[in-house]
Symmetry: C2
Subunit: 585 residues, 2 copies
Amino acid sequence: MLRTHTCGELRISDINREVVLAGWVQRVRNKGGLIWVDLRDRYGITQLIFEEGSGHTALLEKAASLGREFVVQAKGTVIERASKNDKIPTGEIEVRPSELNVLNPAKVPPFIIEDETDGGDDLRMKYRYLDLRRNVVREKLQLRHRMMQETRKFMDAQHFIEVETPVLIKSTPEGARDFVVPSRINPGEFYALPQSPQTFKQLLMVSGFDRYFQIVKCFRDEDLRADRQPEFTQIDCEMAFVEQEDILNTFEGLIKHLFASVKGLELGEVARMTYADAMRFYGNDKPDLRFDMKFAELNDLAQGKGFPIFDQAELIVGFCAQGAGEYTRKQIDALTDWVKRPQIGAKGLVYVKCNADGTFKSSVDKFYGQEDLKVWADRMGAKGGDLLLILSGEAPSTRKQLSELRLKMGEELGLRDRTVFKPLWVLDFPLLEWDEETKRFHAMHHPFTSPKKEDFALLDTDPGAVRANAYDLVINGVEIGGGSIRIHDRTVQQTMFRHLGFSEEEAKAQFGFLMEAFEYGAPPHGGIAFGFDRLCAIFGGSDSIRDYIAFPKNNSGRDVMIDSPSPIAVAQLEELNIALALKKS
Amino acid sequence: MLRTHTCGELRISDINREVVLAGWVQRVRNKGGLIWVDLRDRYGITQLIFEEGSGHTALLEKAASLGREFVVQAKGTVIERASKNDKIPTGEIEVRPSELNVLNPAKVPPFIIEDETDGGDDLRMKYRYLDLRRNVVREKLQLRHRMMQETRKFMDAQHFIEVETPVLIKSTPEGARDFVVPSRINPGEFYALPQSPQTFKQLLMVSGFDRYFQIVKCFRDEDLRADRQPEFTQIDCEMAFVEQEDILNTFEGLIKHLFASVKGLELGEVARMTYADAMRFYGNDKPDLRFDMKFAELNDLAQGKGFPIFDQAELIVGFCAQGAGEYTRKQIDALTDWVKRPQIGAKGLVYVKCNADGTFKSSVDKFYGQEDLKVWADRMGAKGGDLLLILSGEAPSTRKQLSELRLKMGEELGLRDRTVFKPLWVLDFPLLEWDEETKRFHAMHHPFTSPKKEDFALLDTDPGAVRANAYDLVINGVEIGGGSIRIHDRTVQQTMFRHLGFSEEEAKAQFGFLMEAFEYGAPPHGGIAFGFDRLCAIFGGSDSIRDYIAFPKNNSGRDVMIDSPSPIAVAQLEELNIALALKKS
């Protein structure tokens, strides 16, 4: 045993105990012949005290020579501290060592290893293993561990069985690009890494597993973004003999359990909204409901009054920013510039200030009288002291721009509080999405999603209007999960593939195994998958999933620390018969 | 809700309750105007009864038309059964449906879906999703789930943190061949899939995580065997500030917890044996201790008596098969043939029968008298009724042959009982292993394993004699886990790489990140990894890990069901710049 206790364990009741501690040197202080060493490990900090005295000279010298982050072992006696520190649980005691061993010295770390550090992002990422020593960083991974444990506990109690699905699989395209893995045993052929275990979990439903889940790594060979890594983790779930309502109830249960057990928070009701309403009222399929600012359309009120921009617009839409009526001209100009940036792309911004005295001041006073503006304000539920912000133009892009402006106003007014959580089910997503580039419909969720029964007939006449049994769980404007009731019938699945432009041969080659399975007694089933990295970030009150991953990748997909990927010798490449694969195909 | 209850839930107390059940048709019986349907799901079987009567004709006809494995929904009333079935928990009741809906018909399954099936291995593997419907098969995956849950519960209670390490990594060779994944973002470069998260978990120790674990997929591009798949699952663990004894105690705890919680079994003491003793007494570094048959060497007793084969042998070694003294000449001839097969490779087999009357009968009576044989029998602890089996030749191969014979005798004598579990720590493995092919030493465990302090000086003079702080956990002759105390010092690690034939540049290119990390305060640490698939098989009393994997691969590495790997289009290959990679390297 290299230690008898951790550095977070000793208390006043341990006084006079002989102990052995081991850990990292956090700090060395030297004053009036006394030396204090703060010894740190994952569990806490314990103070060591070295005093001058007979036979202690060597020990004192050793203590004085310790540097930050040295790994040491100290044997000694627990004593009561002269001046107690009530900020840490071990603050009433200290240890007076009789022996001190340096287990491993350390170079001076490139940044300070404390909650507040002087290390920039790049340096901290390069030395991720040192950054992980900081409590605030390590605690994020401990949160992740706790989330996994509690997820599994809940799912197990609900009779879900965790099944590990394979990683080296046949490619089953799901919208993103697959990573491929050349096969040495079958020259010229390749495995794919799963974008999700979708088809496997459906097969498990055909197998009668009834309730499946898995916390599982998935892979997408996509360009990287801040909230996306080439490998990511999902909580992947599927249930048989269920309808949409059963799924919503079960996974509201999961989310509520996680908030209660991990954060000690009563989550409250999970709101529900159709996709159509989300787009209409928030311009966004993942609205942030921590604040209101619901959209109101003004076409009927604002057109035909001689303002050409509004008259020509497909849509005039705005929202009321409560309490922003005091915005200065300068602030409003800044907002106007902001929406006109190419990333947002609006042509301009119309504002109406609702004054406390019931009058209005707007950027379109030339065209609209006080009466007009009052009707607008009424529609938007505005009162004195509020600010109306209005955009106009082509409908979908104007909604999107207004959605961005809404989020910005929420941020500016301090309404996006990271300690407040507003969950929302978005329901009734469209089944298909028109793709301008390929001039055909794509599955909005994936090709296994079932259309709503009542919309099935529309598949041939108006495919874009068909709604799916598909749902997303959104928290604070972040999509943390999505799923659907699946197709479980071979004929319907074939129809679906046809509408997605697969020939019968293509569908058979790619998904024949699944359609064949459907013929042997497939139960109705559905499921959901949660983005675990994002969920952890939401729980930690952070935007960045990176903080919740032990070894993130940088923007070129390399591990931030070990400089992956690596070059491979030509001999290995040849053995893998990549050359042969190229020749063959 | 498509059901109110599962098919394993209803009891006599539910009589008169209106219920909705859904499941698979297990069986339809038709007798005297009555139809019984056994409805099955994961939770059990409930009997439906259809009776002739007014207005029931359509229902009866529908019931009569049901085929095996149809998925149906039945609404009806719970009634008491006329003839009860005490073999199933629902056997006191049945459900009289008022409504029957076929949710999905089924083709006739290719084999019978019951505990006893008529399906051969190939057919059952091809239709794995149907095989998984059988209770005996599904229960194996449920065991696996339970093992995962209990492992995580135990590890969490012991303050281990589960950390997900990356899957797309830099190649860190560990003895087997890496799978490689071409990078699209960095043309001409490749990721590797981890053979284990070894270096990552060591970095987590440098980070002060103190106790890490992970249930994690690992990958080896090796030729397939029955007990090996290209992807497999490990329980991967690492601890800081520990010595070997701490690791052994902690993980004895894990194994005991699993036996107690999953199997309700008190495991008892975990035996310990050095590698040297295991080889000497069992010819094997993973001895099966469910039975004795310990080896005894006879060189001093059997040489110099004129039997040339023994006189020329480096080693004469045998064991006593208790109670096998009645083996017939024919049985012994069969054993002789068996050891002479090329897979075993012995030249012949010497036997001594210990008769009940104290006399001996042997195949070498010509050279050895009764007194000689009695001394042999005494050394082997044999009594009347036992059989001595003796091999001779070059020492290592003879021990290996005798080990095989010992296992065969254990099998023949019924001593390898799958409900008995004999765990064993094998300790003090050699650090290095001589490789005839490359004419140099290789790390027996891996290059991060620390040598025993007292043997360190031998590294330069007699490398093969250096013992490592390495240990294996063996149960019933199967290695289920192995690990070591690691090197945590840069200088020692560099020395080790040098002894393994790495140049300084190679070591730096491959493991520079780890050696650099060691300079910033690495604590003493060590760990262990368990082969989770094997562990599940041991718990299930099976030899085959395949049974414990949802979607196994066949011998060519393809998923048994979905015919992976798949060909990839030439366009995708080109985009991946494999051609470029070949040109560059």
